[in-house]
């Protein structure tokens, strides 16, 4: 109990109040993230509706193998994240740390694959500008700009997520969390699921336009 009280910040009266406040805080932050990514999604929708042919052609040059594997990786990492929360709810600190480390590994694997994919994309001159790959309609550059911007912003969020998860794993190792107090892990999990959901939207919009033809 002394540990639990040590976790209570002075502006709060009780632990449940603090816990609810952190969850509400993270939900509100995620609302801002939806609006943040939303601007890019709106631009994508606007340009795809007027340049649907160019977008379809541009999308064919994304590497759907990488995209699909990465989707599977990220979905699995959400599973390990859920398991981490479940473990700490059962007061199983050892497995909490393990699941956190698994999540981190999967997230790193995502970034590594993304790195290889980016390298391949650059090799094919899919970077917008004067040296853009020839043979594609000019508006394909707008698709590719949005590809780099959206996946780049997402990768930035994944990186931040890895940092936060590492801190969580470290603190868990120091015994900071228990079944009575695990707010930060809860809140991190919420953030991580959001990062996953953004990818779920990005994947079809960027990789799967007109793949059947």
């Amino acid at each position: 109990m002394a540990e639990a009280h040590g976790a209570l910040a002075e502006q709060f009266e009780e632990l449940p109040q603090q816990q609810e406040a952190s969850m509400l805080g993270m939900w509100t932050f995620l609302a801002t993230e939806i609006l943040f990514f939303g601007g890019l999604f709106m631009s994508y929708i606007a340009y795809r509706s007027i340049y649907s042919q160019a977008f379809a052609e541009a999308s064919k040059h994304t590497i759907v193998l990488f995209g699909t594997i990465n989707t599977a990786i990220l979905l699995t990492s959400s599973l390990t994240m859920v398991l981490a929360v479940h473990s700490i709810q059962e007061n199983n600190v050892k497995w909490t740390i393990r699941h956190l480390l698994l999540t981190i590994s999967l997230a790193c694997a995502f970034l590594v694959l993304k790195g290889f994919e980016y390298r391949q994309d650059l090799h094919e001159n899919l970077w917008p500008g004067p040296h853009f790959k020839t043979g594609l309609p000019p508006q394909a550059q707008i698709f590719w700009f949005l590809y780099w911007a959206m996946t780049g912003l997402h990768a930035l969020h994944v990186t931040v997520g890895i940092a936060v998860l590492s801190v969580m794993a470290f603190l868990a190792g120091r015994g900071k969390f228990s079944a009575t107090y695990y707010n930060p892990i809860d809140v991190t999990a919420l953030y991580w699921h959001f990062v996953d959901i953004v990818w779920i939207f990005l994947y079809p919009l960027l990789y799967l336009i007109n793949r059947s033809s």
Partner: protein, 320 residues
């Protein structure tokens, strides 16, 4: 000392806009009286230390709130309708307009009359004639503002915007750029010279334009090689352009668009954007090879053959 309140109203539209303005001023004065008078009255009557009846009174709060919500809402909708009606008048040119092209660039206005006369920062028009502008910018967004006519329209690169007016008074009026466009934005001004029809005709002749807008366009049509593919007798299959302007065009993806100025401009600069049904994506882009004024002249030419019969086609018409 001169304190003008309104600019000259040089057209009927200007007078109508002014009427709307006065209507709103009257509304504002009424609301100001309704709000300020009670406030000032209360400030005096209920000043601390002044004897008055301050007993709490049970007012029908909900009724009051709903009343002063609904009545303003109703008034708002009336003014909305008035403003919207005026907007339709301003934005929809009546038929039979004289079409003038405007190209804005940092920091000047380039104007061309259908007879071919060109002007820079000046616009000569005859009184009593409907004039419609087709406008675009060569660089950044500008705005073509004629205060005495109460009209304004942004001039946007990459698209055509339109504006119209009918001058009812002879005189000289202002032309201002009213969208910030860089260093000499405040210098991008000019004059609108409204003349009698006879004076306008002689002004046109004095200008000695080499060719009309559509004649220039026809020359470009040949010089740039358009006729090479688009005239009826060519070997390459390209859609005929006679009788095309403002007609519906079925595209390869199944949708149907109208061949307006914007469509024609995009077809010349971004031919791959919309492929006509039954044709292939072979047309080269003329981006960088043709200026905005030349584009407008080409379009003027295509408008001049809008009522001609489509040219001879290859026998291989129909599905590819």
């Amino acid at each position: 000392m001169n304190f003008p309140i309104l600019p000259t109203a040089a057209s009927k539209v200007a007078q109508q806009t002014d009427a709307l303005y006065w209507g709103l001023i009257i509304l504002s004065l009424v609301i100001i009286l309704i709000v300020f008078c009670p406030i000032i009255f209360f400030l005096f009557k209920y000043r601390a230390g002044k004897p008055a009846d301050r007993r709490p009174v049970h007012l029908p709060e909900m009724t009051i709130e709903i009343t002063w919500t609904l009545i303003p809402m109703f008034i708002m909708i009336c003014y909305y309708a008035w403003g919207a009606k005026q907007y339709f008048v301003i934005e929809r040119p009546p038929p039979g307009a004289m079409e003038i092209n405007v190209v804005g660039k940092q920091w000047m206005w380039k104007i061309q009359h259908p007879e071919g006369n060109r002007e820079i920062n000046e616009l000569h028009v005859p009184v009593g004639r409907i004039v419609k502008f087709t406008m675009t910018s060569q660089d950044v967004i500008h705005s073509f503002f004629l205060p005495e006519f109460r009209i304004k329209q942004d001039v946007v690169p990459g698209r055509y915007t339109t504006e119209w007016f009918k001058a009812e008074r002879i005189g000289v009026y202002h032309l201002f750029c009213s969208e910030f466009c860089g260093t000499f934005h405040s210098g991008m001004t000019g004059r609108v010279v409204v003349m009698s029809p006879a004076e306008y005709e002689s002004w046109l002749l004095k200008g000695e334009p080499g060719s009309t807008m559509s004649e220039s366009g026809e020359r470009l049509y040949r010089e740039l090689g358009c006729s090479g593919c688009h005239s009826g007798s060519s070997i390459v299959r390209a859609p005929p352009l006679e009788g095309l302007f403002n007609k519906p065009v079925p595209l390869a993806d199944g949708t149907v668009v109208t061949a307006d100025e914007a469509y024609l401009r995009d077809s010349i600069l971004f031919p791959a954007k919309q492929i006509v049904g039954g044709y292939t994506n072979d047309m080269p882009s003329f981006q960088g090879r043709i200026s905005e004024e030349e584009l407008l002249q080409l379009i003027a030419y295509l408008k001049s053959v809008a009522n001609a019969a489509p040219g001879l086609r290859n026998s291989l018409e129909g599905s590819p």
